[in-house]
Symmetry: C2
Subunit: 303 residues, 2 copies
């Protein structure tokens, strides 16, 4: 689910007040949680991906688009440290002289590749067509692992702020082929994480989400941010969207233990601290401190 | 979920072979079923509704479009005789000079109206925008009631074929304001139904689905079909889409008992019988018999 659209998300959450027993996690996190009888629960997320916004059918293959559509929701499952269960996909296909079948088969191949790789079978869907560009909507279910689902709103003062991988420049290619950090997220949760989300709107925006929801502040050290080769500079690493890396906070000691036993290829980096107050700041290499404002891509502001 | 697209649905089902224990009902029915630990299970459906295809933003209000989007998935819950649990909605909003908020608030009002009326809260979603028409995708979860979920593929020879309400002419208005037959479906299932689906692609198409999946034939009596006032004639009642009424089959005696104890406003009509073989036929008032072919709206053929 998208992390932006703050004001409206709050409005929707207030309007459709949920029963907190049946729905322990509702509107505003990466996934919503539904309690079932006998202590079971499932989580659900949905993502809409559009031609010209989230992919470009002139540049990406349909297999890549299918893969990315699934991977975006898989990344939401990772963000909560939950285990993917199954997906349904609805598509709006552009009508074409040679029919819809070629498009659908290629898209399906990419969806299936992600479904198999992350053990999240495609169990249903809906196909429609129109004289407009391709739109793909995925809804995905997950179950809890050994820990409770990890929320955005539970960062604690003193936590170190950490990220997986490197940030920025995703549009150069990573945004089509990224690997949702599912196993990594489960390991991070078991190590005792306090809050987590996936970085979809850029670090600057998404860290502001965690702080706002947790009613905390943060201080980030600019020279610790792992800038990706494709990002080129700090600004891009802070503000580019679609990194699909994990952003999480946990006590310093637990993070050190996590790093010691880390058995995954992707690297872990501590980039700052959760502090009191409610402002998110960045300390530059020269010691100057600035406000770190949300500058990532916000779907509603972009219009 | 859409009932058409037969050939491709079969291809997808074959390609993504599901574990029948974890997923007792998979691709090709109104909903897919997921088994959870401790005997629990949930069902899921998804529907994509597009401007110019499933609604027309020049004729329908955004509240109506929001309501219809939810009601289409609620009708899938009814089709399986299951109880709606929760929904997530992803939307692609056309960018507008006055911003997206007015559109979103009206759409949300319609979604919430359906959510409240049918006790199926909106628990999450995704908002994106583009310079293209409105697309709304709903994913909905449901749970089993007192009976197992009712499938399309389990019609028995000798069953009477029945429908709720009247058929055809939905585009005159009903398609925006129909009432998903959830309570009715639960009562029908408890009375001992053998197969059921909701009529979304027109009776002629959807009865062919039940027969094909059940490996049965059918004979329908033309003068028993409840033609709606807006349909005007038999052809429209057979082939118009979006009736969102229930089509079901059950033993004659059980149907008589069901009718006797029926406590809902919507009427029940027996329109024919399930027979051996695999052809679906219609007997006209003059005694002539024709093949009843799928003529409802098929999204893939229409392209």
């Amino acid at each position: 689910m998208s992390s932006g659209e703050t004001e409206l998300v709050r409005y929707f959450a207030a309007k459709g007040k949920l029963n907190a027993v049946r729905f322990p996690i509702g509107i505003g996190d990466d996934m919503a949680q539904i309690k079932l009888p006998k202590g079971n629960s499932v989580l659900i997320t949905t993502d809409m991906l559009l031609d010209g916004v989230h992919f470009d059918t002139r540049k990406a293959t349909l297999e890549q688009i299918g893969y990315k559509s699934m991977a975006a929701s898989l990344s939401d499952c990772a963000a909560m440290a939950t285990i993917p269960l199954a997906a349904v996909v609805s598509v709006a296909l552009p009508r074409q002289p040679r029919g819809l079948k070629p498009t659908l088969l290629k898209l399906h191949r990419g969806i299936l590749a992600a479904a198999k790789k992350y053990n999240c079978p495609l169990i249903g869907g809906d196909m429609t067509s129109w004289n407009k560009p391709l739109a793909v909507s995925v809804a995905m279910l997950s179950t809890v692992g050994k820990t409770k689902p990890v929320k955005r709103s539970t960062a604690k003062t003193g936590d170190v702020i950490c990220v997986t991988g490197t940030l920025g420049g995703s549009l150069a290619g990573k945004h089509l082929s990224f690997e949702p950090r599912i196993k990594e997220a489960l390991a991070i949760a078991e190590a005792g994480v306090n809050s987590m989300m996936d970085i979809s709107d850029g670090l600057s925006t998404d860290l502001n989400h965690i702080c706002r929801l947790s009613k905390k502040g943060a201080i980030v050290e600019a020279d610790k941010i792992p800038v990706s080769r494709n990002a080129g500079n700090l600004n891009n690493a802070l503000n580019d969207g679609e990194d699909f890396e994990l952003l999480f906070t946990m006590p310093q000691k637990k993070f050190e233990r996590l790093k010691k036993h880390w058995r995954f290829k992707v690297k872990l980096t501590a980039i700052g601290k959760i502090i009191g107050g409610h402002s998110v700041k960045i300390e530059m290499a020269d010691g100057k401190v600035f406000d770190l404002l949300p500058k990532g891509y916000d779907h509603l502001r972009s219009s």
